[in-house]
């Protein structure tokens, strides 16, 4: 048996990301200078390289005997992940520098995590998916605990770690059962089996993935972890982990829908539809009561998981599959740009205690945004753009994403989900626009203007441009998304 050189070549982006991680780790050992500005730049460079390699690498198709598939879909996912990584790294640079905590490990861990996410985008095998998830998750567990001061980061990491491993164990046990039923863990071969063993196995796998995408009721960890983790890490989790997890969930859902007997496929569709429904309802609902903007964004990410799940459900209907898949990809791209930007603003405005260990209870309170429109018009404008996009108001990326998803749902005759989606979006507008109201219509409480960091400003500018460009001229990206929607199984 030959060494599969070509198969490894197809995974060049992953190689670049993990190679970059190693370089950054070593740099911390050998270049013991106090100036670490180059590390963020290197991270951005590696993510751009990986994205270029992914985009230029073509679509070799099935590799490693079917365990992975490098196609337009995985390329699209890789590019989104790289974009999320680059933006989060820029945010991290400013945020960490202000806390004198910038180290190579941070970027190395982020790059490792991104390589796991990129792998996940091409996984077509349950074991491959499991290992990719673990590469991604272990890196993010460590990132969540990156700041070793105060109680919150450690607790966030701990909760994320225990619950994440718990769900991974469920997923792995499900994989084992599927293996027992089908004699293989390849997506392509799962479908040939049937019986209760397979159904239970796939059910456990679905539970594990629902945890990763933070769908209600598997969302319980999300608010606590998003709040406690360092803000740039939260941004990275919200953008990258969600994208990667949705990529594999989508691929698996298509298998489950297509291959298992009709009745089982039906019940999976029902389960996903129910998860979508409660995620939209509860995510928006719980976000309403939050005064902490960071926590509000955590709940809103749960709601957005619900909208994305609507897309996954629509993909179940044979007629609307392509539209649904491209809508999911577009939504992920627009959500990545928007949510990283929003967390970047949160990172800028975060209130810090007098000592390093102090954790003010109102660090992310809405009051922090009061009067921002006067204090820092540019920052307020950026936040307003992100909020409007999250609320799904034209002409922003969020609007197009929602429109595509709901249109796909209507084509798939999932009218109920589309209507609930629209209604809950209207509900969501209330708490998103409340931030805008605070920024422009409340007098400032104090003179603090938050962090000033060129790196974060670059990230914010990029995110604003992306959100508006995707909203005003989405044609280019949506064309790519449509091309990527043809998944070769």
């Amino acid at each position: 048996m030959n060494f599969p050189t070509q198969d490894f070549a197809a995974l060049a982006p992953v190689g670049i990301l993990s190679g970059g991680a190693l370089i950054l780790l070593l740099s911390e050992v050998f270049l013991a200078s106090t100036r670490r500005g180059y590390q963020a730049s290197l991270t951005v460079l590696f993510s751009i390289l990986a994205a270029v390699a992914a985009a230029g690498g073509g679509s070799p198709g099935v590799i490693f005997n079917g365990q992975a598939t490098v196609d337009a879909f995985s390329t699209f996912v890789t590019v989104i992940v790289c974009a999320g990584l680059a933006l989060s790294a820029l945010v991290g640079a400013g945020w960490l520098r202000a806390r004198q905590a910038e180290r190579g490990e941070f970027y190395a861990l982020a790059l490792f995590g991104a390589s796991g996410m990129a792998l996940l985008g091409s996984a077509t095998d349950l074991l491959f998916a499991f290992i990719s998830i673990e590469v991604m998750s272990i890196s993010t567990y460590a990132l969540a605990a990156y700041i070793r001061r105060g109680k919150k980061p450690a607790e966030a990491a701990f909760k994320y770690f225990i619950l994440g491993s718990f769900s991974s164990a469920l997923l792995l046990y499900g994989t084992a059962l599927v293996y027992g039923a089908a004699g293989s863990t390849l997506f392509a071969e799962i479908g040939r089996a049937q019986g209760p063993l397979l159904v239970v196995g796939l059910g456990l796998v679905a539970v594990g993935l629902s945890f990763k995408v933070a769908a209600v009721p598997f969302h319980v960890w999300t608010p606590d972890v998003y709040e406690g983790a360092p803000t740039p890490v939260t941004a990275f989790m919200a953008a990258g982990v969600k994208t990667a997890a949705f990529a594999v969930l989508t691929r698996l859902a298509l298998v489950a829908f297509q291959a298992t007997p009709a009745s089982a496929a039906n019940s999976f569709a029902w389960v996903l539809a129910a998860l979508a429904l409660v995620s939209m309802l509860f995510g928006n609902w719980l976000a309403l009561t939050q005064r902490s903007v960071k926590r509000m964004l955590a709940y809103s990410s749960i709601a957005h998981a619900g909208y994305l799940l609507v897309g996954v459900v629509a993909a179940a209907a044979a007629g609307a599959r392509e539209a649904a898949l491209s809508s999911i990809l577009f939504y992920l791209a627009s959500y990545t740009a928007t949510v990283v930007g929003a967390f970047a603003v949160v990172a800028v405005l975060e209130r810090r205690g007098r000592s390093l260990d102090e954790e003010p209870a109102d660090a992310w309170d809405l009051e922090r945004f009061a009067g921002l429109g006067r204090k820092r018009p540019g920052l307020a404008f950026a936040m307003a753009v992100f909020m409007v996009s999250l609320a799904g108001v034209p002409p922003t990326a969020g609007f197009i994403g929602k429109l595509l998803v709901f249109q796909a749902a209507i084509s798939a005759h999932a009218y109920g989900l589309a209507v609930v989606g629209m209604l809950t979006s209207a509900l969501g507008a209330y708490y998103y626009l409340r931030v805008v109201v605070y920024m422009y219509m409340r007098p400032a409480e104090d003179r603090e203007i938050g962090l000033i960091s060129p790196a974060i400003q670059v990230a914010l500018a990029l995110a604003v441009v992306a959100v508006i460009v995707l909203g005003v001229g989405p044609e280019t990206v949506s064309k790519l998304a449509r091309a990527a929607a043809a998944i070769g199984m």
Binding site: S165, Y173, A176
Partner: protein, 100 residues
């Protein structure tokens, strides 16, 4: 020879014990061990099925899982130490700052 269904049943029991432990034990280290127990139960299931069907893939998978579990344990223990350093105890009740 012991039939493979015995192994499967044992694995299911171990998995349930692990699951129950995660939900009910109040000591962080024990919760941590219970998660390891769940992963190993899954491993045992892989091995049992591999033996039952004569398909070698299951054996290979078990090694992958062991490697992953080791990596997870390394990071996990580091996080547990961080918890201990900030709180001075390993009791679950102390890890409830983040809520609502």
């Amino acid at each position: 020879m012991v039939p493979s269904s015995y192994y499967l049943a044992l694995a299911a029991i171990l998995f349930s014990i692990g699951l129950f432990g995660v939900v009910s034990k109040r000591n962080i280290l024990i919760v941590f061990m219970c998660i390891e127990l769940m992963l190993n139960a899954a491993n045992l299931t892989f091995l049992a099925f591999a033996r039952q069907s004569g398909n070698m893939a299951g054996h290979a998978i078990a090694f992958f899982v062991i490697a992953v579990a080791a990596a997870e344990a390394a990071v996990g223990l580091a996080i547990v130490i961080a918890i201990y350093r900030t709180r001075g105890t390993l009791h679950m009740d102390e890890v409830r700052v983040l809520r609502d």
